[in-house]
């Protein structure tokens, strides 16, 4: 989500060296129009409610963010220090655009906002390490009737 040229050489190399094997299959489904979709956000920004446990380094667990959460209740304990946090400190929506989603919902542009969103700590582990908890969250999204998942890296 960033221009390589904007990073230091060491940071760019660090990110490029991540093991990112292609998905073995290419599932692709169409679906109803956006105005009929139930939308959930899945973030890797290490967000959670203030009273939840902080994320730790190498944390593979997730936190549940209720759809009606007050954004003032969200904090960030993502393990990496190598991205900007000052934007989030000023406005949660620059990372987790729930207010913008609520506006689209209010305008009838989406069907509805999901009852639950999910947050991971997207650092300290390779993507493959998250398969088990990723599948678990996928099952819960499906059971909740979510048919539009917005995956937002940080």
């Amino acid at each position: 989500m960033v221009n390589l040229g904007d990073l230091s050489r060491a940071s760019a190399r660090h990110l490029l060296d991540k093991d990112c094997p292609p998905f073995e299959t290419a599932p692709f489904v169409a679906g109803p129009p956006l105005r009929q979709r139930q939308v959930a956000i899945v973030t890797t920004a290490g967000l959670h409610r203030r009273d939840d446990n902080n994320f730790n380094l190498s944390d593979l667990s997730y936190r549940v963010i209720p759809g009606d959460v007050r954004l003032s209740d969200l904090v960030m304990t993502q393990a990496s220090v190598n991205f900007d946090r000052s934007g989030f400190q000023q406005d949660v929506n620059v990372v987790f655009p729930l207010d913008r989603l609520r506006e689209m919902d209010g305008a009838g542009k989406i069907g509805r906002i999901a009852n639950f969103h999910y947050a991971f700590n997207g650092a300290g582990q390779l993507p493959s390490a998250f398969e088990a908890t990723g599948r678990e969250v996928g099952r819960m999204l499906k059971e909740d009737g979510v048919n539009a998942a917005l995956l937002v890296p940080v």
């Binding site: 390589l4 393990a79 934007g87």
Partner: protein
């Protein structure tokens, strides 16, 4: 990054040219954020074939050299050479005292604060961090619920958050780079965290060592300040 995503080949992907940490562009830019969100969700109505990799066409508001001039922190601190006689803790507590009204203003205007990772007050976080540094990476843990490494991590994050919230209380076009350079290069708090980096790499506590290794000082700042 686009390069990694092209290797992964997800079904649908919107690439945005924004800095790490700002996937929707810029804070307090409601319409711009909405445009990014609409562009991402619009991919759901595309019929394929996969992978669909779209590029968002615009840079974030305020991005670029034209906006990177003239910022200064609301509070200016004495130059370190003028305060060599003061203990580092005293200098940090002075900074906190000076910044507290601005942090309170930011909290009031935004209706929120990101503080709280250490589960203790900001002055206590400063004292704990100084004690940890003075003792070479191992000291009494003031938290009954967090490990020493977790307290270290939380206290260091709370320090950064407090300073950043205070420094951005006054509306401006300050860039994240300017903010980071200010914190790490011009504040006593940044000086303490930089000193903790080598000290805690030698800690007897494995959790403290892990934090020092990769969760304390940004890679870019270690490089900029020749600390890496």
């Amino acid at each position: 990054m686009r390069e990694n995503t092209e290797r992964l080949r997800p079904p649908r992907f919107l690439w945005v040219p924004f800095e790490l940490g700002r996937p929707f562009g810029a804070p307090d830019e409601r319409e711009f954020q909405a445009r990014v969100l609409r562009a991402a969700l619009a991919l759901l109505e595309r019929q394929g074939p996969p992978p669909i990799l779209d590029d968002f066409p615009d840079n974030a508001p305020g991005d670029g050299p034209a906006d990177m001039t003239g910022w200064s922190c609301p509070i200016s601190f004495p130059a370190p050479e003028a305060t060599d006689q003061l203990a580092l803790t005293a200098r940090i507590l002075d900074e906190i005292s000076s910044l507290t009204p601005w942090q309170a203003l930011a909290r009031e205007r935004r209706g929120r604060t990101g503080l709280g990772a250490a589960k203790m007050g900001i002055e206590d976080s400063a004292r704990f961090l100084h004690a940890l540094w003075a003792a070479g990476g191992s000291t009494d843990n003031p938290s009954p619920t967090l490990s020493l490494g977790q307290t270290f991590r939380g206290a260091s994050e709370d320090m950064k958050t407090f300073y950043m919230e205070a420094a951005t209380a006054r509306p401006s076009r300050v860039s994240s780079r300017e903010l980071a350079d200010w914190f790490w290069g011009e504040t006593a708090a940044g000086e303490l965290l930089l000193a903790l980096h080598p000290a805690c790499l030698e800690s007897v506590d494995a959790g403290v060592r892990r934090v020092a290794l990769g969760q304390l000082v940004p890679r870019a700042q270690l490089h900029r300040l020749n600390k890496g």
